[in-house]
Symmetry: C2
Subunit: 438 residues, 2 copies
């Protein structure tokens, strides 16, 4: 008998490796933070002796969900400014509030709030972009979630840095400090084509190539962004980034709501990943992404929530359901998208976009043990004729009962492990009172 840390047994396992195949009565063997084996449950218990065992007969196990685009700290601005278009929302509400309030503590508390919400909803990795990345990294380390932290760069000064070079310097200092932490990885994150100059984009591109970093940016979020770009640069933001050499398999483009035929061709031919944020695009009145055409062009699509200031949830179950349902309605094809296709977007496609698919995104030997267990034996998920359909169409985030990240138990019977929700809520309320007073 080989000694291991955990044997997690469940009625169903969706590995994410083999289309919509679901294993029945299998176990995941976890040791040293990683998935060591996947075996039929009887065999797993013959082969391995575990310190902890989980018998989840009502549950399906699946890879932890990957929230491919968010600004976790902005959870403190959840509900601060609703029912507004992106430009008004940013210029008249979010940016003024940020310039008044954003500091290390704001980012730390906001990130903790976001991370607690994400873990409870089955997210095990998030792709972030915000100021004071060290605050988000500290929160991630302490609460125990995997994070890809964007080193934000923009032309405009903020409470964090004054100019592109200072953003970059602080970012690289952060990166050096955190490079050995297994939960934290980094991207360079030029904020958006409308807030970053050509020369800064070129500088970023050089750094990204030298340091082998992925790039995370907002791209084609609104019609207005595209119209302004055409006025100023005589090209769409995607065409402009193409000319600057930014497009490539390392680019993660958040949004891509409005695309010309040539924009689509540029994304496709350069292997750019698109991070869809369906709820946020709807809430800000930006429109619907053309997921059907993106898929027809074999473009890698991952799913993000965007921030709580424009969603107002960090709820990947809500996003998965909207991804499936919206696209059935938009195409008037009810077979587009199927549950397994949506699950891929929320797991392995996210890992691919982040350049982390060799270590996370599916349940396979030697990947990190980022796993969630969803109860399919509740009033809202029974009868269960097909576990993947139950998962995407019936279950919601409250059905997530166990979460393991990097092999550690982070949620157990829906209670966060080693995370003090009450303390987080107290800090959140104290920030809320400060923000509300002004």
């Amino acid at each position: 008998m080989i000694k291991v840390d955990k044997i997690i047994s469940a009625t169903w396992i969706y590995t994410g490796e083999d289309q919509d195949k679901v294993l029945f009565d299998h176990s995941i063997v976890v040791s040293d933070q990683k998935i060591r084996d996947i075996q039929p449950t009887i065999k797993a218990h013959e082969m391995y002796e575990a310190e902890e065992t989980y018998q989840l007969s009502d549950h399906i196990l699946l890879p932890g969900l990957i929230n491919a685009h968010t600004h976790s700290a902005m959870s403190l601005l959840k509900g601060y400014a609703d029912d507004l278009q992106l430009e008004t929302w940013l210029n008249d509400y979010i940016w003024p509030a940020e310039s008044k309030f954003v500091n290390y503590d704001f980012v730390r508390v906001g990130s903790e709030l976001a991370i607690a919400e994400m873990i409870k909803g089955g997210t095990t990795t998030f792709n972030d972009m915000y100021f004071f990345p060290e605050a988000t990294a500290e929160a991630s380390k302490n609460l125990g979630i995997r994070a890809n932290i964007g080193l934000v760069v923009m032309e405009f000064p903020s409470n964090y840095a004054n100019d592109p070079q200072e953003y970059l310097n602080k970012g690289f200092e952060f990166r050096d400090h955190w490079r050995d932490n297994k939960l934290i990885s980094t991207s360079i994150a030029p904020h958006a084509p409308y807030s970053v100059s050509n020369s800064t984009f070129e500088l970023i591109n050089t750094y990204a190539e030298q340091l082998n970093l992925t790039i995370h940016t907002h791209l084609h979020e609104t019609r207005n962004e595209i119209e302004e770009s055409i006025k100023q640069f005589s090209s769409t933001p995607i065409e402009r980034l193409s000319e600057l050499g930014l497009l490539g398999p390392k680019l993660m483009a958040a949004h891509c709501v409005h695309l010309s035929e040539n924009d689509m061709y540029q994304l496709k031919s350069n292997g750019v990943s698109v991070l869809c944020n369906i709820s946020s695009n709807m809430k800000l009145g930006s429109g619907f992404v053309d997921v059907y055409q993106l898929i027809n062009n074999n473009i890698n699509i991952a799913i993000g929530t965007d921030s709580s200031a424009s969603n107002n949830r960090l709820d990947m179950f809500s996003e998965m359901r909207s991804m499936a349902l919206n696209n059935k309605a938009l195409t008037m094809k009810s077979e587009f998208l199927k549950p397994s296709e949506v699950l891929k977007m929320a797991t392995i496609n996210g890992a691919k976009a982040l350049g982390l698919d060799h270590i996370i995104g599916s349940i396979v030997k030697n990947k990190y043990a980022d796993i969630i267990a969803v109860n399919l034996d509740r009033i809202d998920t029974q009868p269960c004729y097909d576990p993947l359909a139950s998962l995407v169409y019936c279950a919601d985030r409250s059905s997530v009962e166990y979460v393991w990240i990097n092999g550690d138990t982070k949620l157990k019977e829906r209670v966060l492990v080693n995370i003090d929700e009450i303390e987080i809520l107290q800090k959140v309320k104290s920030w809320k009172n400060k923000i509300n007073q002004t």
Copy 2:
């Protein structure tokens, strides 16, 4: 001190009576099934002595949600046939399964499953249409939910009845038997223009007028329905019903996804209520309702889930969020719709459609005490800058912690009162095995 049954005190109360006004630190006084008074909490405790008191300092109270269109028994077919267009779904899957399996017990068990899910999600009234209405009524009475039961009529035989006259006879027999039950009301429910003949519609209209009954039907759900109607009757289904004299303030039209200018005019000028089922329309690839135009035409809009066979949830929180977000994206106007507008659709507008707004749909003296309490002090709803925005954008059905129907406590700290979930699940699984075997 006046003796009463309950004093329910909460930080916030959304009465639904006065646009988006929210009362702070008020109490609802409940006696003899009804709302007896609404007072500031201190005053309520000075004026009344209650058998039971609730101090809900983390919660907002609001009128119980009204699910304006569903087929509760079809919860047994939840996930039975996904990712299909309406016609294929009905003709090749749902109707064959129904003709094999539907009987009193199927409807009873399916309704119990649906009702348990609805109460847990804050629904206190549902508007149903299905075979064996007595089974749904028995389930509603036993579990303690308010139901408006549609007396289904169609040309085709089913396990329930053979021809329109038999459907009507059985329906009226049902109505006579249940007319004194305070939780149960009835409508005549011609299934749809494509399954009901002109002469049957005329007969129904006569009965509805004589008995002063509302009429509940499916209308303009798909493009195909409209095209076939034009071929057969040289008019859209709405034009046809208009000619037959069916359109009026007592008509509840479920769906209305595709409307010509004249269809819209007919709905408006006749005061027809539209029951929107956004998720179901998306899931079956039917399209999006033009809510913007419906509102511009002052048409009363209520929200339904449709059945679990095409949703696959009976989750009014999910529907409210989709109603707001979809329409912001469709119109590209982020200010359309606001949380208070959506809340109205899910409460008082539903009551108006059902002709029950004199007894339910808002928190006002002498209406029945159908009230829910939603916790806004959780990780996913904090910070809370605006309780109505938190309710619609952040909260989900798992935030519903208390439900009172007709003055009775039906959900307490998220546990159903006097409803045995385990027993319901056992009966559901036994039906699932029967259905799955064939």
